[in-house]
């Protein structure tokens, strides 16, 4: 989705607020918001790309003005609602209106949550399980595809030419997972773009590089 979240290369956002924003949590409610998002991810369940997609669907103004963790909570609330674990009325009041199936959606314990966080999420498949369409060193062009749904190709590389530097292995495909269309595993490449290719004559320094990890289906041969 070519939404406001796709900020790479945009002008107009001013200086980096380094000093005023060198914090991870400024308010205790941000800590709680962070914790809630982690604690219900497993039993709802949802994965990061689904959570990201909900945030991407905020209005552009909300995206730019809401606190980061408020966006997280908004996305998590939407995912809980999609899973029919809460309803709008409950979210508005904080008052429980109906019971949920706790056998299939059990609250995670502190120990189990920490264990899960320390293990992480495995989205990888065996490297030889899918064909590798691009050899290292190949010149590729990023496809113009720009689906309405979640995708992990920033606009600023769309249609641009780059070079495959490495394959990272085979992973589930973010677009497919966020759309609820299965895992669609495919190779993920490390692709290098020259700054000159991305920004043309307005480039800051032509021979600087920008590197991205891009899935097989985002690329086409040059």
């Amino acid at each position: 989705m070519d939404g406001i979240h796709d900020l790479g290369g945009m002008h107009g956002f001013g200086p980096i607020p380094i000093e005023s924003q060198d914090y991870r949590f400024k308010h205790d409610w941000q800590r709680r918001a962070f914790g809630i998002v982690q604690a219900v991810a497993g039993n709802t369940p949802y994965v990061a790309d689904q959570h990201r997609y909900k945030i991407e669907q905020l209005s552009a103004t909300d995206y730019l003005t809401l606190d980061y963790f408020e966006k997280w909570i908004t996305a998590t609330s939407a995912l809980l609602k999609d899973a029919r674990l809460v309803n709008d009325q409950e979210l508005a009041t904080g008052q429980k209106e109906f019971d949920v199936d706790l056998v299939n959606h059990p609250a995670v314990s502190a120990d189990d949550l920490l264990s899960a966080m320390k293990i992480g999420a495995d989205y990888q498949f065996p490297t030889n399980s899918q064909p590798q369409g691009f050899a290292i060193g190949t010149r590729v062009r990023v496809r113009s595809d720009s689906p309405q749904g979640h995708t992990r190709v920033p606009r600023y590389v769309r249609g641009k030419f780059g070079t495959v530097l490495a394959t990272e292995g085979v992973f589930q495909h973010a677009d497919s997972v966020a759309a609820g269309q299965g895992r669609n595993p495919q190779h993920c490449y490390l692709v290098s773009f020259s700054a000159a290719e991305l920004w043309g004559s307005s480039v800051e320094q032509a021979d600087d590089d920008i590197l991205l990890n891009l899935a097989e289906s985002y690329l086409e041969p040059m």
Binding site: H5, A33, T93
Partner: protein
């Protein structure tokens, strides 16, 4: 850093709205049995106190002291970092990129806020904000200058945009005149920003 609703009330009504909303959601989910307050406590404490850039600093210091480890780290960042126990969510797949006299690396996530949690902890707010994400892929040198870092044109800049499951971490250059320091002392020199690439040591 702790505050509460009445504090919020005095300085920022928008914050208060978000705070009330989060409290309502937490109470709702607890009432429904979907979440345990102690699980929230635990995960917040873990990311605030047990992970953070001290982990990454240990990786860096070891790489400076142990050439074999450094070679492994640059070849297979995932295995080398996991071998030190720094693993888990948002650090499942790691690529470590080395700063040299010829190349300076810097990491970003233009689409959201991907960041290597097990080695660097949670990202600072500016890393997640619009200005950094918008600008660093287009004008990294101007951004670095705002961080107080003026790079020579002879040093190539490589910007790593975290668009998939792999998380990046910068291996900063070892500062001069540190030959007599222990690995632990070296780790104390390594800053978070040097591993993001917005600082050098």
């Amino acid at each position: 850093m702790q505050d509460n609703l009445s504090d919020d009330h005095h300085h920022d009504p928008i914050e208060e709205g978000a705070a009330l909303r989060v409290r309502a959601l937490e109470e709702l989910l607890i009432a429904k049995g979907l979440v345990k307050a102690e699980a929230i406590d635990a995960v917040v404490e873990y990311y605030e106190k047990e992970t953070g850039p001290r982990n990454g600093a240990q990786v860096v210091a070891r790489a400076w002291c142990d050439p074999d480890f450094k070679a492994w780290l640059l070849k297979d960042g995932t295995a080398a970092i996991h071998s030190m126990g720094f693993k888990g969510y948002q650090g499942e797949h790691m690529r470590v990129v080395e700063n040299t006299n010829d190349t300076h690396n810097i990491i970003v996530c233009t689409l959201c806020s991907c960041y290597p949690w097990p080695v660097l902890g949670l990202p600072p707010a500016w890393y997640k904000g619009a200005a950094y994400r918008a600008r660093v892929v287009r004008e990294p040198r101007a951004v670095l200058a705002e961080f107080g870092l003026d790079l020579p044109a002879s040093q190539k800049v490589r910007v790593w945009d975290s668009t998939a499951e792999i998380r990046f971490m910068v291996l900063p250059q070892r500062p001069p005149n540190t030959g007599n320091l222990s690995q632990a002392e070296l780790a104390d020199l390594v800053t978070r920003d040097s591993m993001i690439g917005t600082a050098v040591l």
